[in-house]
């Protein structure tokens, strides 16, 4: 295994509740979801977690950040901003895992949600747009080799 084996996957997730929920509860709920997701990845056996991180938007300057490198090590979560209650939360998950497709990541996240949420709570989770599901590795190349992605026509932003 080397760095190139980790497949970058982005999942955009929306949470919606009928009643406003306190930040501490969102933190706990999403943290449990995150841990369940990491556990399911680990249970697959052929997948290795490089880093799974997520940022839940609370407001312009408030967020909860989640980070996990290993299901056994648990999920590290950190809140920054003003404590408040929210009905909606948008979150971006950035997952770097070996042998894990976008489709499979979505499936495992949905499974984890079903086990995390108490159905009576009326909180919904929706995973947004799916990026193209290729199992291409992240390409690294050396100094004198042509870039396999842009054939040396690098874009300067």
């Amino acid at each position: 295994m080397y760095q190139k084996d980790f497949i970058p996957i982005v999942l955009k997730v929306k949470f919606k509740s009928e009643e406003p929920i306190a930040i501490e509860k969102w933190k706990q709920l999403i943290g449990d979801l995150f841990l369940g997701y990491a556990q399911r990845i680990t249970e697959k056996g052929d997948c290795f977690i490089g880093h799974i991180k997520a940022l839940a938007d609370i407001s312009e300057f408030s967020y909860i950040k989640f980070s996990c490198i290993n299901a056994l090590a648990g999920v590290n979560s950190e809140f920054h901003g003003e404590l408040q209650s929210n009905c909606k939360i948008n979150m971006v998950i950035n997952s770097l895992v070996t042998n894990m497709s976008n489709h499979e990541s979505r499936k495992l996240l949905n499974q984890s949600w079903l086990l995390t949420i108490n159905q009576e709570e009326n909180i919904k989770m929706q995973i947004e747009d799916e990026t193209p599901d290729t199992l291409e590795e992240h390409h690294h190349h050396h100094e004198n080799e042509p870039c396999p992605i842009c054939e040396n026509k690098h874009h300067i932003h």
Binding site: Y2, Q3, F6, G50, I69, N94
Partner: protein
Amino acid sequence: MFKNEGEIKKGRPEIILFTGFLGSGKTTMLIKTIEMLAEKKRKCAIIINEIGDVGIDNRQMRKLGYDVLDLFGGCVCCTLKVTLEATINHLLEDCEDLDYILFEPSGMADPSAMYPAITNCGYDVNEIHNIFIFDPLRVDLYVNSLNKLFNDSLNLAGMVVINKIDHAAPGMVKDAMKMVKDTRPGIKSFQMNVNDGLTPEFNQALIRERRQ
């Protein structure tokens, strides 16, 4: 038009590089370093390279009120080398009174591959302050699978921070320390939980290293 090398060298900002594998704590280290330098009224520019279509760290930094230069679309050690060079040159050209350029590459990056982009901007290799953040929870991974990355990273580093010491078993921290000492005897090393803040010894060493 670029300033000539002499002009740039005279008052150019220091470059601090935060290296380490995925999830080692680089972003937290970067944030704590910014806070420490901001207290000392230092002016910093922040460059972040993340893998993936949507960044997490850059969003976090913006919510904290920092402006960030993103390097997106690939890993800075290969596809974005040219962009890194252009970004540093832009900072040298357009940002006056800058004390530091703080750069956090992706945890998938090979640190040695980033150096040419920095040296092409007029910096010597020994002017790049490279802090290697080592997660002791990953000792086995480094030993079994990422040994070359570990050796390459450590050989380029000026300092090592062994992070998450309260989360790792004491044996893991000890093993991590031994790996560091065996690979780079004498390198400055620090043990801390970066989440709880940087240690005064580390802060002093970072500032001292800048002066040297």
